[in-house]
Point group: C2
Chain length 273, copies 2
């Protein structure tokens, strides 16, 4: 059994939605993961039409989250913005909204406080998610982003949060770049059965660049054992698309067709899919 490839738009960040959709169509990539910023640039209706006319599925919308604020009004605004993101996801024809939950509350060292704010926010979004038929995908980020982007630092922690809510409304996103190091990954992926809302690929390449946000590599260029993780995700029952999502300035500077061809070829070569 194999899973199907999707190109996350972040991999070709300079492109608008229509250009990225056309790129996928040219390279035999049947799905695309969209980003709210680029969708906003052209409008939701036009983005949906562009993807539809290219014959693509939308594997996810990236991203909601960033729930951790000291000011209650800022927290309420974050929830409202996430409700809007849920509605955008539905309008774009995807049933997954990826969440990057937020780092420490500014001025606070209390990781537990940040985690409670995230749990509260996710809980308050469940009704909107269920109405829209969109699943919130809690994505654990690598622990090096714990302070400033996401205090949910391991898959186990994301699952512990997700299982507080209905599986139809809240799942987890497995991104190889963020979770590959975890000795508990195999057992946690198994525990995530029925909760995996998304599966994303990027490789861990050394040395890390000055901006550690941008250090990801093409599948196969680094140290991650993709076949092992993919087999675990498949064994856990995941049947959705597999997004390749790479943040890397050198890849953004490369011709998009070259990038898409590499994504397509590595997916076949490394995973055999």
């Amino acid at each position: 059994m194999s899973l199907s490839l999707s190109l996350n738009q972040a991999t070709v960040r300079p492109l608008g939605v229509a250009a990225a959709a056309a790129l996928c169509a040219r390279h035999d990539i049947p799905a695309i993961g969209l980003w709210r910023e680029q969708v906003a640039d052209c409008g939701v209706a036009r983005a949906a039409a562009a993807v539809r006319s290219a014959g693509l599925r939308v594997s996810s919308l990236c991203r909601g989250g960033f729930f951790t604020h000291a000011d209650p009004a800022a927290r309420a605004a974050a929830v409202a913005d996430n409700v809007a993101a849920i509605e955008e996801a539905a309008a774009l024809g995807t049933d997954v909204l990826v969440l990057v939950s937020g780092g420490l509350v500014p001025g606070s060292r209390d990781v537990g406080l940040a985690r409670r704010m995230i749990a509260d926010a996710v809980g308050s979004l469940v009704p909107a998610a269920q109405r829209a038929g969109v699943r919130l995908g809690i994505e654990p980020l690598h622990p090096m982003f714990c302070a400033d982007r996401c205090v949910i630092s391991s898959l186990g922690e994301a699952i512990d949060l997700a299982v507080q809510f209905p599986a139809s409304a809240v799942g987890v996103v497995v991104d190889t770049y963020h979770v590959w190091w975890d000795a508990r990954l195999p057992s946690e992926v198994a525990r995530a059965a029925g909760r995996i809302a998304g599966f994303q690929l990027a490789d861990w390449v050394l040395p890390l660049p000055a901006d550690v946000l941008l250090g990801r590599g093409h599948v196969g260029d680094g140290v991650i054992d993709f076949p092992a993780i993919a087999a675990a995700v498949l064994a856990a029952g995941y049947r959705g698309d597999v997004e390749v999502e790479i943040f890397n300035e050198r890849i953004w500077a490369a011709p998009a067709d070259e990038t898409a061809a590499t994504v397509r070829e590595r997916f076949r070569a490394v995973l055999g899919w």
Copy 2:
């Protein structure tokens, strides 16, 4: 109840053992953590004498480890070098050898293979450690170092490894910089009761520098909740010294007396000890 401060020599890396020992004595710091490189520069006997004449305890020797090699001869050499480190630790009067276990085996993506090599190496060192009365302290490193320095990426994983061996011979080292992000940290520290061989402090300061090895900050300069972690370590029964160990080029360039004064003052101000 309070614990006692130790200055890990890495915090004042340009200094030799004798100068670092004198620095501790001047700043009311009753213990020092030594590094093999600096000990080798002056010889074990002279290093031991310098520390003794300054009236200090040696809280640990850093470091053994780096067990992960494809070549069996290289693995055997690493074990032999660690036996030597155990003997050095005993000669220096400390009962703790800190281990940084090693990253992925070069040319391999198999984290499990690296972990098995580490378990084998630690097991083979147990008799030498018991003979010398030196405990091996398995230190989990932050997951951003998993590929190239240490595949033991969480405290839980370090404990899982340590408990395979006698508690007198193998423990774990809790370094705030490496483990602060972990949602399971409180429960894992509790589980480590009787196994905590060392406790080290450094703060997580943003932004990360270009070389992520060197991004640590003085206690209180970053986001880590030291009182919470220290209380958990104390509750788990740890009664050893607390090393401040900071890798930071700006701190290395500062006058050592200024650094030691800051270490001393922050330890009092942040932990109240």
